[in-house]
Symmetry: C2
Subunit: 83 residues, 2 copies
């Protein structure tokens, strides 16, 4: 069994209005040191063992979990021994 | 200057209908090995150097970035040397 952590972020060139709103809110709260905020998605998948786990996770990301036109993704796979 | 990565996840006990929908979509796409999907948020903050960075980030998370009633958060702080 695997625990997979998927990080989906907006591409550098894509405007992030939600991040801009969070930054302004933080400035209003006197956290003026915040220079930039970018918002992405974080997903945790629990996956049963199969062949080609890495390749299959990559497919899931590119086909469903991320919109590769505007988003980048990366993932970490961790093997879990059920207790 | 610091690069801060913030991970916000739903608490274990909180139902995640969005994750359930993603799981069903993956099953429809024949990725039947996916056992569970939990969806969270991932934020990247660029923060200018100040005192008590860690404490201030923790405050930002608990006051704005996460809803601590239903969400947990954790963060990683990385010092960046501007090139």
């Amino acid at each position: 069994m695997y625990k997979v952590k998927v990080f989906v972020t907006l591409r550098e060139s894509v405007l992030d209005p939600q991040g801009g709103a969070v930054k302004r809110a933080l400035h209003t709260m006197e956290y003026k040191e915040v220079e930039e905020v970018r918002i992405g998605k974080y997903m945790e998948l629990t996956v049963n063992s199969t062949d080609n786990v890495e390749q299959r996770i990559d497919e899931m990301c590119s086909k469903l979990l991320a919109n590769t036109v505007i988003e980048d993704y990366r993932f970490e796979i961790e093997e879990v021994v059920p207790s």
